[in-house]
């Protein structure tokens, strides 16, 4: 890389966890130039994991989802552009154009525009929901409760958490899933079967191996969901939880590589002066030898920090190689995992027992330990496994007994 001009103006597009954390990291590293943080939503930066948990159940007031106090945000000295959508990137002139026509020049840009929920085409009747924003959660919360019937399409993490939250509010809940088991491609059949049983133990009507025909509306209000086998599932509300798509439309024509996300190198560089972080970023992960796009909360923060550091000191940047982490709360049970579990070759219970409701599973991909997941185990039990994943441990050298802490 040629010697870069000093960075005086940074624009960050996306004001959620990745974008905010990047802005904070710039200041923490001593950057005193201009930082413009652009967010499409009108709210101050807030956290999304509670939306399908405490915000949906009403256990927390919405203010508790704020990522930072207003005074902490003020202290960062940002040019905060909320309610502003970026519509175009012009790399040649290093300019981001906003929906209102404003043009933001930058020396360095961080793209942190996240993802949006995939929808079923043509379904917009009241009572048909997706869950990504605070408004989505508020809208659902107003409608869920005892006597209400919710159908959740998709038994992924989001669908499962919403099903659990809705059950705790007394709603009747049916979850429909095309795969034979929930989440099996990520967590494996054993854990998937456990999660299925957990739903059923808590009164969720889980229908797996079925396909949705259509969402039925009567008089402009959702009435139910039909399955392709002819089954009709009556519903007052339907949540469509069938995955996400990266928000890269605004980058069309920019010349960036947009193959399912903003494609970056190991240092999160997507183009000259352009970096990406969070759910939208796809990068080559040296630890797993694969190109990943990770939609987990911890990755958003870690990647925001890494992008900020790479931007300030490209010559010192190290490959971004974290051990990914996620958690999920379902029916009062916490699931936690480290590593890259998806498309694993083998999964083994290595501590506890599914029958007891508490266990730890190790995952093999190729010859190596690549992941570990705990159901209702003390969280510290996972730490030695995290270290073993980071150390690229050969599967055959794993002890059959628990790793020493």
């Amino acid at each position: 890389m040629t010697t870069a001009a000093p960075v005086r103006r940074v624009v960050i597009v996306g004001a959620s966890a990745a974008g905010l954390t990047a802005a904070e990291a710039l200041r923490r590293e001593g950057f005193e130039g201009a930082v413009t943080l652009v967010g499409e939503e009108h709210h101050l930066p807030y956290d999304r994991p509670p939306l399908s948990k405490q915000i949906l159940t009403g256990a927390w007031p919405v203010e508790r989802a704020a990522l930072r106090r207003p005074s902490d945000l003020d202290a960062l000295g940002l040019d905060l552009r909320l309610g502003s959508r970026a519509v175009r990137l012009s790399p040649a002139s290093r300019t981001v154009t906003l929906a209102d026509g404003a043009e933001l020049g930058y020396d360095a840009l961080i793209v942190a525009t996240g993802v949006r929920p995939r929808r079923l085409a043509g379904h917009t009747a009241p009572g048909v929901h997706v869950l990504r924003t605070l408004e989505d959660a508020r809208r659902m919360r107003e409608r869920l409760g005892a006597g209400r019937r919710l159908v959740v399409i998709g038994a992924g993490f989001l669908g499962s958490e919403v099903a659990a939250a809705a059950r705790s509010l007394g709603a009747s809940v049916t979850v429909v899933e095309t795969a034979p088991l929930p989440l099996a491609r990520v967590v494996g059949d054993r854990v998937g079967a456990h999660l299925a049983q957990l739903h059923r133990d808590h009164g969720v009507d889980l229908r797996t191996g079925v396909r949705v025909g259509e969402i039925v509306a009567h008089g402009g209000q959702v009435g139910g969901v039909t399955l392709t086998d002819g089954t009709v599932l009556p519903a007052d509300d339907v949540l469509v939880a069938i995955g996400s798509e990266p928000n890269t439309d605004w980058l069309g024509g920019s010349g960036l590589d947009l193959a399912d996300g903003v494609v970056c190198d190991q240092h999160l560089t997507a183009g000259p002066g352009v970096y990406a972080a969070g759910d939208v970023a796809r990068w080559h992960h040296p630890l797993f030898g694969a190109t990943l796009r990770v939609e987990h909360r911890t990755n958003a923060a870690e990647q925001g920090i890494a992008a900020a550091r790479a931007l300030l000191a490209p010559e010192r940047a190290r490959p971004f190689a974290p051990v990914p982490y996620f958690w999920s709360d379902q029916h009062g049970v916490r699931i936690q995992a480290f590593g890259h579990l998806r498309d694993h070759d083998e999964a083994q219970v290595v501590e506890g027992a599914p029958a007891e409701g508490r266990f730890l599973v190790a995952y093999r991909t190729g010859r190596r330990l690549t992941g570990a997941l705990a159901v209702a185990m003390p969280p510290k039990a996972l730490h030695p496994w995290r270290a073993a994943i980071a150390a690229e441990t050969d599967w055959r050298t794993l002890p059959t007994a628990p790793l020493p802490a």
Binding site: E302, Y325, W327, P378
Partner: protein, 64 residues
């Protein structure tokens, strides 16, 4: 530096313990416990990193 933790917000990820093990610990449920609310100079960078990556935004710092 003064550190505060919001235990009801904590999601037990343990990221803070990985980054600043002399300042943060976890109980049996994984919930954060502060070992000191005034970390010494050698621990402060780790504490800042822990606050930044905490997936529950449950760690708050006052720089003094």
């Amino acid at each position: 530096m003064h550190v505060e933790v919001d235990q009801p917000k904590c999601v037990a990820s343990g990221q803070c313990v990985l980054m600043a093990p002399d300042v943060f610990d976890q109980d049996d449920d994984g919930i954060v416990e502060l070992l000191t609310d005034r970390p010494g100079p050698g621990h402060r960078d780790g504490v800042r990193e822990a606050a930044a990556v905490c997936p529950a935004a449950a760690i708050r710092l006052e720089e003094e």
